[in-house]
Symmetry: C2
Subunit: 263 residues, 2 copies
């Protein structure tokens, strides 16, 4: 199976390494940006192109890992002139599978649930992969591909994938932003952010050990300790945006508790 990579971002980079490690026959890298294309292609010892028209026509699998709007606007162009029997897939959480409809004959999605950096190698074995395909043959092909990379393969519709992506924003990007605010607060007061690491680990460990996160909640908001909360808000007087976040998230924690008590 000859594979062409359309895109050379963080996800494309890590996926490419994983595919090559499994012995897949990667043929070419496309990226609109010369620098990204060259960087990835050199690491993989592959040729690259910055023009969609120069993408190899006879591959068996085209994997598009582009920004959502680029994928939406260029799906037709990606398929045009290529092998009619090829399988076209993308890897985006919020782009429907139907982006390929009317252009490709065989298509689908493999959505890996992970946050990728170009620098950090991640093992795909543990990364959940969500598969969607436009037919039974395509489904079997994609399940096989996904299972060759990961032990955790699920199927998810376009609608479910959207919810997965939205959830990922909360449990990854938003969580990371809470870390970022914490780091800023401590460094402004000459305190080591490392002193928060055991707390951050235990917060995650509780949930990984099976505690429901709502039930695991602690702290002033869930106790609705207004004394502590108003002191904290006062400490954030110089950061009105974080102050507002503090108030809103505390309120949301409290409402979550009231809802769970009703059930």
């Amino acid at each position: 199976m000859k594979i062409v990579l359309i895109g050379a971002g963080n996800l494309a980079t890590q996926l490419a390494f994983a595919l090559q490690e499994q012995g897949y026959d990667l043929r070419q890298v496309f990226s609109r940006t010369e620098q990204s294309a060259a960087l990835l292609a050199n690491q993989l010892h592959l040729p690259y192109t910055t023009s969609l028209e120069e993408v190899e026509a006879d591959a068996d699998l085209y994997i598009a890992s582009l920004k959502d709007d680029a994928l939406m606007s260029r799906a037709a162009e990606i398929v045009r002139g290529k092998n009619r029997d090829a399988l076209f897939i993308h890897t985006a959480g919020s782009v429907p599978m139907s982006v390929w409809e009317g252009h490709a004959t065989h298509y689908g999605v493999i959505y890996p649930m992970q946050t990728f950096s170009k620098q950090r190698r991640v093992s795909f074995r543990e990364i959940p992969m969500f598969v969607e395909a436009n037919g039974e043959t395509e489904r079997q092909q994609l399940l096989e591909l996904a299972r060759s990379l990961s032990t955790k393969v699920y199927e998810a519709s376009t609608e479910q994938r959207r919810q997965l992506h939205l959830t990922a924003v909360f449990v990854c990007n938003f969580v990371n932003h809470m870390y970022a605010i914490g780091e800023h607060l401590l460094s402004a007061h000459d305190l080591p952010f490392e002193s928060m690491y055991p707390l951050m680990k235990e917060t995650l460990e509780k949930v990984l050990s099976g505690m429901n996160p709502s039930a695991a909640q602690t702290g002033p908001a869930v106790r609705y300790d207004e004394g502590v909360m108003s002191k904290h808000e006062a400490l954030l007087a110089d950061h009105p945006e974080w102050q507002q976040l503090y108030q809103m998230i505390s309120k949301s924690i409290h409402h979550d508790k009231l809802r769970s008590e009703q059930n």
Copy 2:
């Protein structure tokens, strides 16, 4: 050194186990609630009382782990009638050391940076402890006590401890609430929350490995991908509170990026 525990909550419970493991001479448990007092005292094979007047007068160390307002209003009463040479400490992030001033002669604070549940045993060896004391002798005593429990002992003023507590709310309680929202979103769409675990782990691992959280940020908000963000907001139409959080946290992530680019 004879120790009396004033309070039988999550922190008091875990601290008591750690002290007893290290061979400290715990003498008595006080809690206003009979049930909490009995539960902890039985586990420690200690007597308990629900009346401050019946607390042993001749201990060397009184450790108060009460809710902030209880501590503020009862500090004088805790000290009254006790051994004048005893050391009085509390374990609260947002209560000043001066809560003991005018009541006790020797006093201070040991603030362990961790989230405690009654059920989950945690090892104190890795838990950062922040010490404050009202004099050099007291400081040495508390540093020694803290170092016998943990390898990570720091000193922090009342003002710094407030910032630590505020930061803990962001990196623990608020992070946990992001997990809770994620869990609610997925369970409403029949998707397994476990599929988020590797993402949650990697989000933390990046920061533990030394990446600055602001620099480690990924996702639609930091790219300012309005297409994805408006789709996500639409998905949250039935949850106006989470929708508003989505918008505000995304904005805050974007502003954080702009600030870091200016520096």
